[in-house]
């Protein structure tokens, strides 16, 4: 339709969209916040998600979605400023504090978040969660990583390779 969407910021009332989680919970959020997701942005630009329709997200459960939206709502104003070149140091410090606290969560929630951020293509969140996981695993041994990720136990050959590697890179295991 050629008719321009007029409710976008000009008259003060922000446009709202509805997102529906895999377990059928409806979340109403500002379009600007939901648009942090590259995947949703296109649908929203096409005028979707408004009124009684809602956008179904079959891959994201309600607990994860509420967490994702918490991030989006917090980051939407800065994102609207085009990466916030004119944001004050205080604003940036506040976002940083929020981010640090945001990922201070249970591992299983973290892994659901990483999948959701990936599927919804929310760049900032993807990067934030990936950074957190990287910080969590960087001190672990390869064997611990395998266990954490549920890889099967190494075959004798693989074990021999791992031992040889450990000899060569012994310094890295300190």
């Amino acid at each position: 339709m050629a008719a321009p969407e007029s409710g976008d910021g000009n008259n003060g009332a922000a446009r709202m969209v509805t997102l529906i989680s895999s377990d059928n919970t409806r979340f109403e959020v500002e379009a600007a916040a939901a648009s942090l997701s590259q995947t949703l942005q296109l649908t929203i630009l096409d005028g979707g998600g408004g009124g009684g329709d809602g956008i179904p997200l079959p891959n994201v459960d309600s607990a994860t979605l509420s967490k994702v939206l918490e991030y989006c709502i917090k980051h939407a104003p800065a994102a609207a400023n085009g990466g916030a070149p004119n944001a004050t140091a205080v604003d940036r410090a506040e976002l940083e504090r929020f981010d640090n606290e945001f990922v201070n969560i249970d591992q299983s929630v973290l892994y659901s978040l990483i999948m959701a951020a990936h599927n919804l293509e929310i760049e900032g969140l993807q990067s934030l969660v990936a950074k957190k996981v990287a910080d969590m695993i960087k001190g672990k041994s390869p064997m611990e990583i395998r266990r954490t990720l549920g890889f099967p136990d190494p075959t004798p050959e693989e074990q021999a390779e791992m031992n040889a590697h450990m000899l060569e890179y012994g310094w890295a295991y300190e």
Binding site: A130, I137, P142, F151, M162, H165
Partner: protein, 275 residues
């Protein structure tokens, strides 16, 4: 009893192992962790060794580095005899010093390698590029990666014809077109200095390249290069001082060697600037 956590992992993690997401996480790890995690699985090894991953990881680390205090690599050169600088200790030590705000920080030893005495004699000053360190000596040139503790001795080459006891002009830089690091070393085609112009050539060694040996450039340097110097790397080019004693009409400038095209040029200097 051990079945329960296993089930939880099976439920939570399979998707998480997806390549793209693993990539996103690994790209944010320090080099030391990556060296260790190569042995986690074949898939992880493949990602960590992928040249595209290596390049992206470097970009990522550079961005991180920009936000940190500047850091320096310091390497003491120990002269073993008084007099002309002929014999240096073969004990290579690299220290990292970070310029912290309180100025109290100490330099930390990040890499040490003890070469056999006599392995090399005179050395040139080291060069640095993206965490790699080049040590040109009168015998071989060495490249160190102090973070991964890797070191390579570049192979010998027989192209240099002049009997010469000091290091040849050498430089280290990055060729963005191939994503490879290159060491370029100039050599003498003539046996002696004469009244004639000294003829020099240039050879290139690509680090982790397919050749594994020095390769001569298609064109020679248009001017002789001042001996025993380490080239300076800026924006994909190496810069060398020109040997003015061995050319009748030397230009006022620095010799420039492009690591991408492997061609030469002269970058002019203001007339009152050395050299």
């Amino acid at each position: 009893m051990s079945l329960i956590p296993f089930c939880i992992y099976m439920k939570t993690f399979p998707d998480f192992i997806k390549g793209e997401i693993v990539w996103e996480i690994l790209i944010r790890l320090p080099v030391a962790s990556l060296a260790k995690f190569k042995s986690v699985s074949k898939a992880w090894h493949a990602i960590i060794s992928d040249p595209i991953f290596v390049r992206e990881h470097l970009q990522c680390s550079k961005q991180k580095q920009d936000r940190k205090a500047p850091s320096f690599i310091i390497s003491p050169l120990v002269l073993l005899d008084p007099g002309p600088p002929m014999r240096f200790a073969t004990n290579v030590r690299l220290y990292q010093w970070r310029l912290e705000e309180d100025m109290k920080s100490e330099a930390e030893l990040i890499y040490g390698r003890h070469f056999r005495p006599g392995e090399f004699g005179p050395v040139c000053s080291m060069a640095h590029c993206d965490g790699l360190v080049l040590l040109p000596t009168n015998t071989k040139a060495y490249v160190f990666n102090p973070i991964t503790k890797d070191a390579i001795a570049l192979p010998a080459s027989k192209r240099n014809k002049m009997q010469y006891h000091r290091p040849l002009p050498t430089g280290l830089g990055f060729d963005a077109s191939t994503g490879k690091y290159k060491v370029a070393r100039s050599f003498y085609r003539s046996r002696h200095y004469t009244a004639e112009v000294v003829k020099m050539g240039m050879e290139v060694f690509t680090i982790n390249g397919e050749e594994g040996k020095w390769r001569e450039t298609v064109v020679d340097p248009p001017f002789p290069i001042l001996n025993s110097q380490t080239g300076t790397h800026v924006n994909g080019c190496l810069f060398f001082f020109i040997d003015k004693n061995n050319h009748q009409r030397p230009p006022q400038g620095l010799l420039r060697f492009s690591l991408k095209d492997e061609t030469f040029g002269v970058t002019p200097l203001l007339p009152n600037i050395y050299p």
